[in-house]
Amino acid sequence: MANRQRGLTRRDFIRGTVGATLAVSALRMPWSEGSERLAPLSLVTVVRDKNVMDAGYRVDPKILQSMVNRTLLQVTGKNRVKEAWADLVKTEDIVGLVPTPHLNPTHQELVDVVKESLMREAGISEKNIIMAQGGKRRPGKCTALISMPALKGHWLTGIGTVIKNYIMYSGRPSNYHEEKSAKLGEIWLIPEVKDKTRLVLVDAIHPLCDKGPQPDPRYKWAYNGLIAGIDPVAVETVCLKILTSKRQALRGEPWPISPPPICVEAADKVYGLGTSKIEKIKIAHFGWGEDLLLE
Protein backbone atom coordinates (compact mmCIF):
# COMPACT_ATOMS: atom_id res chain seq x y z
CA MET A 1 0.00 0.00 0.00
CA ALA A 2 1.36 3.34 -1.02
CA ASN A 3 3.44 5.33 1.42
CA ARG A 4 3.08 2.73 4.10
CA GLN A 5 6.61 1.42 4.53
CA ARG A 6 7.27 2.84 7.96
CA GLY A 7 10.89 1.71 8.35
CA LEU A 8 12.60 2.86 11.48
CA THR A 9 11.46 6.26 12.63
CA ARG A 10 12.98 8.37 15.35
CA ARG A 11 10.42 6.86 17.70
CA ASP A 12 12.03 3.45 17.33
CA PHE A 13 15.25 4.92 18.66
CA ILE A 14 13.46 6.27 21.69
CA ARG A 15 11.90 2.99 22.64
CA GLY A 16 13.92 0.38 24.49
CA THR A 17 15.90 -2.41 22.98
CA VAL A 18 15.67 -1.67 19.28
CA GLY A 19 16.66 1.90 19.84
CA ALA A 20 19.42 0.96 22.23
CA THR A 21 20.77 -1.62 19.82
CA LEU A 22 20.77 0.49 16.71
CA ALA A 23 21.65 3.77 18.37
CA VAL A 24 25.08 2.36 19.19
CA SER A 25 26.02 2.86 15.57
CA ALA A 26 25.56 6.58 15.93
CA LEU A 27 28.34 6.55 18.51
CA ARG A 28 30.71 5.00 15.98
CA MET A 29 32.07 2.39 18.30
CA PRO A 30 35.43 1.11 17.00
CA TRP A 31 34.05 -2.37 16.48
CA SER A 32 31.02 -1.10 14.64
CA GLU A 33 32.45 0.66 11.64
CA GLY A 34 30.19 -1.53 9.57
CA SER A 35 30.08 -1.12 5.84
CA GLU A 36 32.48 1.80 5.92
CA ARG A 37 35.28 -0.64 6.70
CA LEU A 38 34.65 -2.64 3.56
CA ALA A 39 35.65 -2.03 -0.03
CA PRO A 40 33.61 0.66 -1.77
CA LEU A 41 31.27 -1.89 -3.33
CA SER A 42 30.20 -5.29 -2.06
CA LEU A 43 29.68 -7.78 -4.85
CA VAL A 44 26.55 -9.91 -4.87
CA THR A 45 25.99 -12.36 -7.70
CA VAL A 46 22.60 -13.51 -8.90
CA VAL A 47 22.88 -16.58 -11.13
CA ARG A 48 19.67 -18.00 -12.61
CA ASP A 49 18.69 -20.79 -14.95
CA LYS A 50 15.11 -21.21 -16.06
CA ASN A 51 15.47 -24.98 -16.24
CA VAL A 52 17.11 -25.73 -12.92
CA MET A 53 13.72 -26.77 -11.48
CA ASP A 54 10.91 -28.42 -13.41
CA ALA A 55 7.15 -28.08 -12.95
CA GLY A 56 7.23 -30.88 -10.41
CA TYR A 57 9.79 -28.95 -8.32
CA ARG A 58 12.54 -31.44 -9.15
CA VAL A 59 15.99 -29.84 -9.32
CA ASP A 60 18.44 -30.76 -12.07
CA PRO A 61 21.83 -31.36 -10.40
CA LYS A 62 23.79 -30.81 -13.60
CA ILE A 63 22.31 -27.39 -14.22
CA LEU A 64 22.74 -26.58 -10.55
CA GLN A 65 26.38 -27.59 -10.77
CA SER A 66 26.99 -25.11 -13.59
CA MET A 67 25.17 -22.40 -11.61
CA VAL A 68 27.39 -23.04 -8.60
CA ASN A 69 30.47 -22.94 -10.82
CA ARG A 70 29.38 -19.65 -12.35
CA THR A 71 28.72 -18.26 -8.90
CA LEU A 72 32.18 -19.25 -7.63
CA LEU A 73 33.93 -17.71 -10.62
CA GLN A 74 32.05 -14.45 -10.39
CA VAL A 75 32.31 -14.06 -6.62
CA THR A 76 36.08 -14.57 -6.69
CA GLY A 77 36.91 -13.13 -10.11
CA LYS A 78 38.89 -16.27 -10.99
CA ASN A 79 38.87 -18.17 -14.28
CA ARG A 80 38.71 -21.72 -12.97
CA VAL A 81 36.59 -23.30 -10.26
CA LYS A 82 39.69 -24.78 -8.63
CA GLU A 83 41.22 -21.32 -8.31
CA ALA A 84 37.95 -19.91 -7.06
CA TRP A 85 37.74 -22.44 -4.23
CA ALA A 86 41.42 -21.82 -3.42
CA ASP A 87 40.52 -18.18 -2.97
CA LEU A 88 37.84 -19.12 -0.43
CA VAL A 89 39.16 -22.15 1.46
CA LYS A 90 42.43 -23.96 2.12
CA THR A 91 42.86 -27.67 1.47
CA GLU A 92 43.48 -28.26 5.17
CA ASP A 93 40.32 -26.45 6.24
CA ILE A 94 37.53 -28.21 8.04
CA VAL A 95 34.58 -26.83 6.15
CA GLY A 96 31.14 -26.58 7.71
CA LEU A 97 28.12 -26.40 5.41
CA VAL A 98 25.23 -24.54 7.01
CA PRO A 99 21.96 -25.07 5.13
CA THR A 100 18.44 -24.30 6.35
CA PRO A 101 17.36 -27.61 7.87
CA HIS A 102 13.57 -27.62 7.57
CA LEU A 103 10.49 -25.48 6.79
CA ASN A 104 11.36 -24.39 3.25
CA PRO A 105 14.76 -26.02 3.54
CA THR A 106 17.81 -25.59 1.37
CA HIS A 107 17.62 -28.05 -1.51
CA GLN A 108 19.64 -31.16 -0.73
CA GLU A 109 20.84 -31.10 -4.33
CA LEU A 110 22.59 -27.80 -3.64
CA VAL A 111 24.28 -29.16 -0.53
CA ASP A 112 25.40 -32.21 -2.51
CA VAL A 113 26.77 -30.14 -5.39
CA VAL A 114 28.77 -27.87 -3.07
CA LYS A 115 30.13 -30.82 -1.11
CA GLU A 116 31.15 -32.63 -4.28
CA SER A 117 32.79 -29.51 -5.67
CA LEU A 118 34.71 -28.95 -2.44
CA MET A 119 36.05 -32.49 -2.63
CA ARG A 120 36.81 -32.54 -6.34
CA GLU A 121 37.93 -28.98 -7.01
CA ALA A 122 39.14 -27.71 -3.66
CA GLY A 123 40.79 -30.91 -2.56
CA ILE A 124 38.97 -31.06 0.78
CA SER A 125 38.63 -34.59 2.06
CA GLU A 126 35.12 -35.84 2.77
CA LYS A 127 35.81 -36.24 6.48
CA ASN A 128 36.70 -32.56 6.65
CA ILE A 129 33.36 -31.44 5.27
CA ILE A 130 30.72 -31.47 7.98
CA MET A 131 27.09 -30.49 8.21
CA ALA A 132 27.42 -27.63 10.65
CA GLN A 133 23.81 -26.53 11.26
CA GLY A 134 22.81 -26.93 14.93
CA GLY A 135 24.56 -26.17 18.20
CA LYS A 136 27.68 -24.01 18.37
CA ARG A 137 29.97 -26.97 18.92
CA ARG A 138 29.59 -27.74 15.23
CA PRO A 139 31.03 -24.47 13.89
CA GLY A 140 33.54 -24.66 16.71
CA LYS A 141 35.06 -27.68 15.00
CA CYS A 142 35.26 -25.87 11.66
CA THR A 143 37.90 -23.54 10.31
CA ALA A 144 35.65 -22.35 7.47
CA LEU A 145 31.89 -22.04 7.03
CA ILE A 146 29.73 -21.86 3.95
CA SER A 147 26.34 -20.44 4.83
CA MET A 148 23.65 -21.90 2.59
CA PRO A 149 20.23 -20.61 3.70
CA ALA A 150 17.07 -20.76 1.64
CA LEU A 151 15.41 -17.47 0.76
CA LYS A 152 12.25 -16.84 2.75
CA GLY A 153 10.25 -14.18 4.50
CA HIS A 154 9.64 -14.67 8.21
CA TRP A 155 6.57 -13.46 10.04
CA LEU A 156 8.51 -12.55 13.23
CA THR A 157 11.69 -11.04 11.82
CA GLY A 158 10.66 -9.94 8.33
CA ILE A 159 13.25 -12.12 6.63
CA GLY A 160 14.66 -15.43 7.80
CA THR A 161 17.58 -16.03 5.48
CA VAL A 162 21.22 -14.99 5.88
CA ILE A 163 21.63 -13.23 9.23
CA LYS A 164 19.17 -15.60 10.90
CA ASN A 165 20.84 -18.72 9.53
CA TYR A 166 23.19 -18.98 12.50
CA ILE A 167 20.47 -18.56 15.15
CA MET A 168 20.92 -22.10 16.49
CA TYR A 169 24.56 -21.29 17.31
CA SER A 170 23.26 -18.96 20.01
CA GLY A 171 21.89 -21.91 21.98
CA ARG A 172 18.91 -19.69 22.79
CA PRO A 173 16.95 -19.07 19.57
CA SER A 174 13.89 -17.76 21.40
CA ASN A 175 16.08 -14.94 22.76
CA TYR A 176 16.17 -13.48 19.26
CA HIS A 177 12.46 -13.05 18.70
CA GLU A 178 10.56 -9.76 18.66
CA GLU A 179 12.71 -6.66 19.10
CA LYS A 180 15.66 -8.83 20.06
CA SER A 181 15.89 -9.97 16.45
CA ALA A 182 17.95 -6.80 15.98
CA LYS A 183 20.70 -8.66 17.80
CA LEU A 184 20.89 -11.64 15.46
CA GLY A 185 24.11 -10.21 14.06
CA GLU A 186 25.90 -10.74 17.36
CA ILE A 187 25.83 -14.49 16.77
CA TRP A 188 28.20 -13.98 13.84
CA LEU A 189 30.72 -12.62 16.32
CA ILE A 190 30.82 -15.48 18.82
CA PRO A 191 34.25 -17.17 18.86
CA GLU A 192 32.99 -20.37 17.23
CA VAL A 193 31.71 -18.40 14.22
CA LYS A 194 33.61 -15.12 13.92
CA ASP A 195 35.55 -14.63 10.67
CA LYS A 196 34.89 -18.19 9.50
CA THR A 197 32.23 -17.53 6.85
CA ARG A 198 33.95 -17.70 3.47
CA LEU A 199 30.89 -17.72 1.26
CA VAL A 200 27.20 -16.97 1.61
CA LEU A 201 25.28 -18.97 -0.97
CA VAL A 202 21.52 -18.45 -0.85
CA ASP A 203 19.21 -21.05 -2.34
CA ALA A 204 16.71 -18.88 -4.21
CA ILE A 205 15.45 -21.66 -6.45
CA HIS A 206 11.99 -21.79 -4.90
CA PRO A 207 11.73 -18.92 -2.39
CA LEU A 208 8.89 -17.91 -0.07
CA CYS A 209 7.92 -14.24 0.09
CA ASP A 210 5.34 -14.26 2.91
CA LYS A 211 4.02 -16.25 5.87
CA GLY A 212 7.35 -17.97 6.50
CA PRO A 213 8.77 -20.05 7.92
CA GLN A 214 5.68 -22.25 7.45
CA PRO A 215 5.34 -23.12 3.78
CA ASP A 216 2.53 -21.49 1.85
CA PRO A 217 2.53 -22.43 -1.84
CA ARG A 218 0.73 -19.22 -2.80
CA TYR A 219 3.82 -17.27 -1.86
CA LYS A 220 6.44 -19.61 -3.26
CA TRP A 221 7.63 -19.10 -6.79
CA ALA A 222 10.23 -20.42 -9.20
CA TYR A 223 12.96 -17.79 -9.09
CA ASN A 224 15.46 -20.49 -10.07
CA GLY A 225 18.44 -18.61 -8.73
CA LEU A 226 21.46 -18.61 -6.48
CA ILE A 227 22.40 -15.40 -4.70
CA ALA A 228 25.93 -15.22 -3.35
CA GLY A 229 28.72 -13.09 -1.99
CA ILE A 230 31.21 -12.84 0.81
CA ASP A 231 29.42 -9.93 2.50
CA PRO A 232 26.47 -11.50 4.34
CA VAL A 233 24.62 -8.23 4.86
CA ALA A 234 24.90 -7.26 1.21
CA VAL A 235 23.58 -10.68 0.18
CA GLU A 236 20.68 -10.31 2.64
CA THR A 237 19.95 -6.81 1.33
CA VAL A 238 19.68 -8.12 -2.22
CA CYS A 239 17.45 -10.94 -0.95
CA LEU A 240 15.21 -8.35 0.72
CA LYS A 241 14.93 -6.41 -2.52
CA ILE A 242 13.81 -9.55 -4.35
CA LEU A 243 11.23 -10.45 -1.69
CA THR A 244 9.86 -6.91 -1.56
CA SER A 245 9.54 -6.69 -5.35
CA LYS A 246 7.83 -10.08 -5.52
CA ARG A 247 5.30 -9.08 -2.86
CA GLN A 248 4.43 -5.92 -4.74
CA ALA A 249 4.11 -7.86 -8.01
CA LEU A 250 1.78 -10.39 -6.35
CA ARG A 251 -0.64 -7.86 -4.90
CA GLY A 252 -0.34 -5.16 -7.51
CA GLU A 253 0.21 -2.62 -4.77
CA PRO A 254 3.07 -1.99 -2.35
CA TRP A 255 3.14 -4.74 0.27
CA PRO A 256 6.01 -3.93 2.63
CA ILE A 257 7.66 -6.64 4.64
CA SER A 258 6.19 -6.42 8.12
CA PRO A 259 7.66 -6.30 10.69
CA PRO A 260 10.60 -4.46 9.16
CA PRO A 261 13.72 -6.65 9.16
CA ILE A 262 15.70 -4.67 11.70
CA CYS A 263 18.33 -7.40 11.95
CA VAL A 264 19.72 -6.42 8.55
CA GLU A 265 20.42 -2.80 9.33
CA ALA A 266 21.72 -3.76 12.77
CA ALA A 267 24.05 -6.34 11.21
CA ASP A 268 25.61 -3.46 9.30
CA LYS A 269 25.53 -0.56 11.71
CA VAL A 270 25.96 -2.31 15.03
CA TYR A 271 27.85 -5.49 14.29
CA GLY A 272 29.87 -4.40 11.27
CA LEU A 273 29.16 -7.54 9.26
CA GLY A 274 28.74 -5.84 5.89
CA THR A 275 26.70 -3.25 4.08
CA SER A 276 22.93 -2.86 4.06
CA LYS A 277 23.06 0.09 1.68
CA ILE A 278 21.89 -0.99 -1.75
CA GLU A 279 23.89 1.80 -3.39
CA LYS A 280 27.04 0.24 -1.97
CA ILE A 281 26.30 -3.13 -3.54
CA LYS A 282 27.29 -4.18 -7.03
CA ILE A 283 24.77 -6.75 -8.24
CA ALA A 284 26.13 -9.00 -10.98
CA HIS A 285 23.43 -10.98 -12.74
CA PHE A 286 24.01 -13.97 -15.00
CA GLY A 287 21.58 -16.17 -16.87
CA TRP A 288 17.80 -16.08 -17.04
CA GLY A 289 16.58 -12.48 -16.83
CA GLU A 290 12.82 -12.74 -16.70
CA ASP A 291 11.22 -11.39 -13.50
CA LEU A 292 14.62 -10.67 -12.02
CA LEU A 293 12.97 -8.39 -9.42
CA LEU A 294 16.07 -6.26 -9.03
CA GLU A 295 15.09 -3.24 -11.09
Binding site: A2, R11, W155, E178, E179, A182, P213, P217, P259
Partner: protein, 342 residues
Amino acid sequence: MTGFFSKTLFFLLTMMIIPSFSKDIRAEMTKKSVKLPKTIGFWTRSDNARIIDSGNIFDYMNGAGELYLAYGFDHLEVYEYTSDRQDRIMAEVYVMYTSNDAFGLLSLDWGGEPVTIHSTPPFQSEPCVELPVRALYGGGLLRIWSDNFYARVMAYRETVESKKAVLSLGQAIAAERKRPAEPELLKVLPTTVGPDWKLRKDRIGYFRSHLVLNSLYYLSHQNILHLDHSTEAVTAPYEKRTQDGATKYVQVLFVKYALPAQAGKALANFHKAYLPEHQKGFDLGITTRQTHFFKIEDGWLGYALDGAGLAIVFECPNRESAQLIIKHITDYTVSREKNHGK
Protein backbone atom coordinates in the same frame (compact mmCIF):
# COMPACT_ATOMS: atom_id res chain seq x y z
CA MET B 1 33.16 -47.73 42.37
CA THR B 2 31.11 -50.39 40.61
CA GLY B 3 28.07 -49.37 42.67
CA PHE B 4 28.64 -45.75 41.83
CA PHE B 5 28.81 -46.48 38.13
CA SER B 6 25.71 -48.69 38.30
CA LYS B 7 23.75 -45.95 40.03
CA THR B 8 25.04 -43.37 37.58
CA LEU B 9 24.14 -45.56 34.63
CA PHE B 10 20.67 -46.19 36.09
CA PHE B 11 20.18 -42.46 36.64
CA LEU B 12 21.25 -41.58 33.11
CA LEU B 13 19.06 -44.25 31.55
CA THR B 14 16.11 -43.09 33.65
CA MET B 15 16.67 -39.49 32.57
CA MET B 16 16.76 -40.61 28.95
CA ILE B 17 13.68 -42.79 29.14
CA ILE B 18 11.33 -40.66 31.24
CA PRO B 19 11.08 -37.65 28.89
CA SER B 20 10.29 -39.77 25.83
CA PHE B 21 7.87 -41.91 27.82
CA SER B 22 6.09 -38.90 29.29
CA LYS B 23 5.90 -37.34 25.83
CA ASP B 24 4.13 -40.46 24.59
CA ILE B 25 1.79 -40.35 27.58
CA ARG B 26 1.04 -36.72 26.87
CA ALA B 27 0.31 -37.54 23.23
CA GLU B 28 -1.99 -40.38 24.26
CA MET B 29 -3.73 -38.31 26.89
CA THR B 30 -4.52 -35.53 24.45
CA LYS B 31 -7.71 -36.68 22.87
CA LYS B 32 -7.66 -36.53 19.13
CA SER B 33 -10.31 -34.10 17.93
CA VAL B 34 -10.90 -35.08 14.34
CA LYS B 35 -11.62 -38.28 12.53
CA LEU B 36 -10.02 -38.28 9.13
CA PRO B 37 -10.32 -41.04 6.56
CA LYS B 38 -7.50 -43.54 6.38
CA THR B 39 -7.42 -43.33 2.62
CA ILE B 40 -8.37 -40.51 0.31
CA GLY B 41 -7.77 -40.73 -3.43
CA PHE B 42 -4.20 -41.91 -3.98
CA TRP B 43 -3.18 -41.08 -0.42
CA THR B 44 -3.09 -43.06 2.80
CA ARG B 45 -2.36 -41.61 6.21
CA SER B 46 -0.23 -43.02 8.97
CA ASP B 47 -2.13 -44.67 11.82
CA ASN B 48 -1.37 -42.06 14.45
CA ALA B 49 -1.60 -38.32 14.43
CA ARG B 50 1.35 -36.37 15.67
CA ILE B 51 0.22 -34.29 18.65
CA ILE B 52 1.90 -30.94 19.18
CA ASP B 53 1.28 -28.71 22.19
CA SER B 54 2.78 -25.52 23.53
CA GLY B 55 5.66 -27.52 25.01
CA ASN B 56 6.98 -28.85 21.72
CA ILE B 57 5.56 -26.53 19.08
CA PHE B 58 8.94 -24.89 18.49
CA ASP B 59 10.50 -28.27 17.78
CA TYR B 60 7.85 -28.75 15.12
CA MET B 61 7.86 -25.36 13.42
CA ASN B 62 10.55 -23.12 14.96
CA GLY B 63 9.52 -19.48 15.32
CA ALA B 64 6.25 -20.05 13.46
CA GLY B 65 4.98 -21.48 16.74
CA GLU B 66 4.79 -17.97 18.19
CA LEU B 67 1.92 -17.27 15.81
CA TYR B 68 -0.31 -19.93 17.31
CA LEU B 69 0.72 -19.19 20.89
CA ALA B 70 -0.28 -15.58 20.23
CA TYR B 71 -3.87 -16.86 20.15
CA GLY B 72 -5.59 -19.29 22.51
CA PHE B 73 -3.82 -22.47 21.41
CA ASP B 74 -4.68 -25.86 22.90
CA HIS B 75 -2.91 -28.31 20.63
CA LEU B 76 -2.18 -29.28 17.05
CA GLU B 77 -2.88 -32.59 15.34
CA VAL B 78 -0.79 -33.44 12.30
CA TYR B 79 -1.82 -36.10 9.82
CA GLU B 80 0.48 -37.00 6.96
CA TYR B 81 -0.89 -38.64 3.83
CA THR B 82 1.52 -40.31 1.46
CA SER B 83 1.20 -41.87 -1.94
CA ASP B 84 3.59 -43.68 -4.22
CA ARG B 85 2.10 -41.76 -7.15
CA GLN B 86 2.09 -38.16 -5.95
CA ASP B 87 3.72 -35.89 -3.35
CA ARG B 88 2.43 -36.03 0.19
CA ILE B 89 -0.46 -34.11 1.72
CA MET B 90 -0.22 -32.68 5.22
CA ALA B 91 -3.31 -31.97 7.31
CA GLU B 92 -2.72 -29.78 10.34
CA VAL B 93 -5.65 -29.20 12.69
CA TYR B 94 -5.04 -26.45 15.24
CA VAL B 95 -7.43 -26.85 18.14
CA MET B 96 -7.92 -23.40 19.62
CA TYR B 97 -9.67 -22.36 22.83
CA THR B 98 -12.38 -20.38 21.04
CA SER B 99 -13.93 -19.91 17.65
CA ASN B 100 -12.64 -16.33 17.70
CA ASP B 101 -9.06 -17.57 18.03
CA ALA B 102 -9.50 -19.86 15.04
CA PHE B 103 -11.12 -17.03 13.08
CA GLY B 104 -8.16 -14.81 13.92
CA LEU B 105 -5.73 -17.22 12.29
CA LEU B 106 -7.78 -17.32 9.10
CA SER B 107 -8.11 -13.53 9.14
CA LEU B 108 -4.37 -13.05 8.75
CA ASP B 109 -4.73 -13.66 5.03
CA TRP B 110 -7.98 -13.42 3.07
CA GLY B 111 -6.26 -14.40 -0.17
CA GLY B 112 -7.31 -17.46 -2.12
CA GLU B 113 -10.44 -18.92 -3.57
CA PRO B 114 -13.38 -19.13 -1.11
CA VAL B 115 -14.66 -22.70 -0.96
CA THR B 116 -17.62 -24.34 0.76
CA ILE B 117 -16.71 -27.22 3.01
CA HIS B 118 -19.30 -27.13 5.80
CA SER B 119 -22.42 -29.24 5.75
CA THR B 120 -24.11 -27.49 8.67
CA PRO B 121 -25.93 -24.15 8.35
CA PRO B 122 -24.19 -21.03 9.64
CA PHE B 123 -25.10 -19.33 12.89
CA GLN B 124 -27.88 -16.89 12.03
CA SER B 125 -26.31 -13.50 12.39
CA GLU B 126 -25.66 -10.48 10.27
CA PRO B 127 -22.24 -11.14 8.74
CA CYS B 128 -19.42 -8.81 9.74
CA VAL B 129 -17.26 -9.45 6.73
CA GLU B 130 -18.96 -9.11 3.35
CA LEU B 131 -19.15 -12.86 2.83
CA PRO B 132 -18.68 -15.05 5.87
CA VAL B 133 -15.73 -16.88 4.35
CA ARG B 134 -14.74 -19.97 6.28
CA ALA B 135 -12.36 -21.73 3.93
CA LEU B 136 -9.86 -20.48 1.37
CA TYR B 137 -7.91 -22.49 -1.18
CA GLY B 138 -4.87 -21.49 -3.19
CA GLY B 139 -1.86 -23.20 -4.72
CA GLY B 140 -2.52 -26.52 -3.02
CA LEU B 141 -3.19 -25.08 0.45
CA LEU B 142 -6.64 -25.10 2.06
CA ARG B 143 -7.14 -22.98 5.19
CA ILE B 144 -10.23 -23.51 7.29
CA TRP B 145 -11.98 -21.80 10.17
CA SER B 146 -14.46 -24.28 11.64
CA ASP B 147 -15.69 -23.38 15.12
CA ASN B 148 -12.59 -23.64 17.33
CA PHE B 149 -10.55 -25.42 14.63
CA TYR B 150 -8.14 -23.70 12.34
CA ALA B 151 -6.80 -26.13 9.77
CA ARG B 152 -4.17 -26.11 7.06
CA VAL B 153 -4.38 -28.90 4.53
CA MET B 154 -1.56 -28.71 2.04
CA ALA B 155 -0.53 -30.75 -0.96
CA TYR B 156 3.21 -30.41 -1.49
CA ARG B 157 2.51 -30.41 -5.21
CA GLU B 158 -0.83 -29.29 -6.54
CA THR B 159 -2.54 -31.54 -9.07
CA VAL B 160 -6.16 -32.09 -10.05
CA GLU B 161 -6.21 -35.17 -7.83
CA SER B 162 -4.50 -33.48 -4.88
CA LYS B 163 -6.95 -30.57 -4.97
CA LYS B 164 -9.85 -32.97 -4.82
CA ALA B 165 -8.25 -34.83 -1.91
CA VAL B 166 -7.40 -31.64 -0.04
CA LEU B 167 -10.97 -30.34 -0.34
CA SER B 168 -12.34 -33.71 0.76
CA LEU B 169 -10.12 -33.64 3.82
CA GLY B 170 -11.37 -30.14 4.55
CA GLN B 171 -14.93 -31.40 4.46
CA ALA B 172 -14.00 -34.23 6.82
CA ILE B 173 -12.42 -31.79 9.26
CA ALA B 174 -15.46 -29.49 9.22
CA ALA B 175 -18.08 -32.23 9.22
CA GLU B 176 -20.87 -31.78 11.75
CA ARG B 177 -19.14 -28.88 13.40
CA LYS B 178 -20.85 -25.68 14.54
CA ARG B 179 -20.48 -22.50 12.53
CA PRO B 180 -20.38 -19.63 15.00
CA ALA B 181 -20.49 -16.05 13.77
CA GLU B 182 -17.36 -13.97 13.29
CA PRO B 183 -16.05 -12.12 16.37
CA GLU B 184 -18.46 -9.43 17.48
CA LEU B 185 -15.58 -6.98 17.60
CA LEU B 186 -15.44 -6.80 13.81
CA LYS B 187 -18.63 -4.78 13.90
CA VAL B 188 -16.76 -1.74 15.21
CA LEU B 189 -15.41 -1.30 11.68
CA PRO B 190 -17.99 0.55 9.56
CA THR B 191 -18.05 -0.50 5.92
CA THR B 192 -17.77 3.12 4.85
CA VAL B 193 -16.86 6.34 6.62
CA GLY B 194 -18.35 9.43 5.07
CA PRO B 195 -18.61 9.51 1.30
CA ASP B 196 -14.99 8.62 0.59
CA TRP B 197 -13.44 6.11 2.95
CA LYS B 198 -14.07 2.44 2.27
CA LEU B 199 -13.11 -0.47 4.49
CA ARG B 200 -10.65 -2.93 2.91
CA LYS B 201 -12.53 -6.06 3.96
CA ASP B 202 -9.79 -8.21 2.51
CA ARG B 203 -7.33 -6.77 5.02
CA ILE B 204 -9.29 -7.16 8.26
CA GLY B 205 -7.19 -8.87 10.90
CA TYR B 206 -8.33 -10.10 14.31
CA PHE B 207 -5.69 -10.77 16.99
CA ARG B 208 -4.59 -10.59 20.62
CA SER B 209 -0.83 -10.00 20.32
CA HIS B 210 1.47 -7.21 19.23
CA LEU B 211 3.47 -9.78 17.25
CA VAL B 212 0.46 -10.42 15.06
CA LEU B 213 -0.32 -6.70 14.87
CA ASN B 214 3.21 -6.10 13.61
CA SER B 215 2.75 -8.65 10.85
CA LEU B 216 -0.39 -6.80 9.74
CA TYR B 217 0.65 -3.22 10.48
CA TYR B 218 3.99 -2.46 12.05
CA LEU B 219 3.65 -0.32 15.15
CA SER B 220 6.54 -1.13 17.46
CA HIS B 221 8.66 -4.16 18.24
CA GLN B 222 7.63 -3.65 21.84
CA ASN B 223 4.19 -4.31 23.25
CA ILE B 224 3.29 -0.67 23.77
CA LEU B 225 -0.47 -1.34 23.72
CA HIS B 226 -0.28 -4.03 26.42
CA LEU B 227 -1.92 -6.64 24.22
CA ASP B 228 -2.31 -10.12 25.70
CA HIS B 229 -4.69 -13.06 25.71
CA SER B 230 -7.26 -11.10 27.73
CA THR B 231 -7.55 -8.49 24.99
CA GLU B 232 -9.01 -8.72 21.52
CA ALA B 233 -8.19 -6.39 18.69
CA VAL B 234 -9.06 -5.74 15.09
CA THR B 235 -7.25 -3.72 12.47
CA ALA B 236 -7.92 -2.84 8.84
CA PRO B 237 -7.06 -0.15 6.34
CA TYR B 238 -9.58 2.23 4.82
CA GLU B 239 -8.93 3.60 1.38
CA LYS B 240 -10.10 6.46 -0.75
CA ARG B 241 -9.43 7.60 -4.27
CA THR B 242 -7.90 11.03 -4.47
CA GLN B 243 -8.66 13.53 -7.24
CA ASP B 244 -5.44 12.68 -9.05
CA GLY B 245 -6.43 9.01 -9.23
CA ALA B 246 -4.10 7.82 -6.48
CA THR B 247 -5.28 5.76 -3.54
CA LYS B 248 -4.80 6.99 0.01
CA TYR B 249 -4.85 4.56 2.93
CA VAL B 250 -5.37 5.03 6.63
CA GLN B 251 -5.11 2.30 9.25
CA VAL B 252 -7.71 1.74 11.95
CA LEU B 253 -7.00 -0.22 15.10
CA PHE B 254 -9.53 -1.04 17.81
CA VAL B 255 -8.58 -2.83 21.01
CA LYS B 256 -11.03 -4.11 23.60
CA TYR B 257 -9.45 -4.64 27.01
CA ALA B 258 -10.83 -6.75 29.82
CA LEU B 259 -11.27 -3.71 32.06
CA PRO B 260 -11.42 0.07 31.57
CA ALA B 261 -8.44 0.49 33.91
CA GLN B 262 -6.32 -1.72 31.64
CA ALA B 263 -7.35 0.31 28.64
CA GLY B 264 -6.40 3.53 30.40
CA LYS B 265 -2.98 2.21 31.36
CA ALA B 266 -2.39 0.88 27.87
CA LEU B 267 -3.27 4.23 26.32
CA ALA B 268 -0.97 6.04 28.73
CA ASN B 269 1.87 3.72 27.74
CA PHE B 270 1.09 4.03 24.04
CA HIS B 271 1.02 7.82 24.29
CA LYS B 272 4.31 7.93 26.18
CA ALA B 273 6.08 5.57 23.77
CA TYR B 274 4.58 6.61 20.46
CA LEU B 275 3.99 10.31 21.00
CA PRO B 276 6.94 11.41 23.13
CA GLU B 277 6.85 14.91 21.67
CA HIS B 278 3.26 15.37 22.86
CA GLN B 279 3.63 14.72 26.59
CA LYS B 280 3.07 18.22 27.90
CA GLY B 281 -0.39 18.79 29.31
CA PHE B 282 -1.44 15.17 29.03
CA ASP B 283 -2.36 13.38 32.20
CA LEU B 284 -3.76 10.17 30.87
CA GLY B 285 -5.41 7.72 33.17
CA ILE B 286 -7.57 10.23 35.06
CA THR B 287 -10.65 9.79 32.89
CA THR B 288 -11.90 6.75 31.04
CA ARG B 289 -13.16 8.78 28.11
CA GLN B 290 -11.01 11.04 25.97
CA THR B 291 -10.22 11.81 22.35
CA HIS B 292 -7.10 13.47 20.93
CA PHE B 293 -5.47 14.13 17.57
CA PHE B 294 -1.81 14.70 16.71
CA LYS B 295 0.21 15.57 13.64
CA ILE B 296 3.24 13.31 13.32
CA GLU B 297 5.67 12.37 10.53
CA ASP B 298 3.36 10.12 8.55
CA GLY B 299 0.14 12.09 8.91
CA TRP B 300 -2.52 12.65 11.54
CA LEU B 301 -3.03 10.19 14.35
CA GLY B 302 -6.21 10.15 16.40
CA TYR B 303 -7.29 8.07 19.36
CA ALA B 304 -10.38 7.71 21.47
CA LEU B 305 -10.60 5.92 24.78
CA ASP B 306 -14.06 4.90 25.85
CA GLY B 307 -14.21 2.58 28.82
CA ALA B 308 -12.48 -0.65 27.90
CA GLY B 309 -12.35 0.22 24.19
CA LEU B 310 -9.49 2.07 22.53
CA ALA B 311 -9.74 3.23 18.91
CA ILE B 312 -6.70 4.57 17.05
CA VAL B 313 -6.40 5.78 13.48
CA PHE B 314 -3.02 6.24 11.78
CA GLU B 315 -1.72 8.10 8.72
CA CYS B 316 -4.73 10.33 8.08
CA PRO B 317 -4.18 13.08 5.52
CA ASN B 318 -5.65 15.75 7.81
CA ARG B 319 -7.25 16.33 11.19
CA GLU B 320 -10.76 16.28 9.73
CA SER B 321 -10.43 12.77 8.31
CA ALA B 322 -8.97 11.49 11.58
CA GLN B 323 -11.87 13.06 13.50
CA LEU B 324 -14.42 11.64 11.09
CA ILE B 325 -13.11 8.08 11.32
CA ILE B 326 -12.72 8.11 15.10
CA LYS B 327 -16.24 9.56 15.43
CA HIS B 328 -17.77 6.80 13.31
CA ILE B 329 -16.13 4.09 15.38
CA THR B 330 -16.92 5.60 18.77
CA ASP B 331 -20.50 6.44 17.77
CA TYR B 332 -20.99 2.81 16.93
CA THR B 333 -19.51 1.47 20.16
CA VAL B 334 -21.47 3.96 22.28
CA SER B 335 -24.73 3.10 20.55
CA ARG B 336 -24.06 -0.61 21.08
CA GLU B 337 -23.42 -0.02 24.76
CA LYS B 338 -26.71 1.84 25.05
CA ASN B 339 -28.46 -1.05 23.35
CA HIS B 340 -26.68 -3.54 25.58
CA GLY B 341 -24.68 -4.98 22.74
CA LYS B 342 -27.61 -5.60 20.40
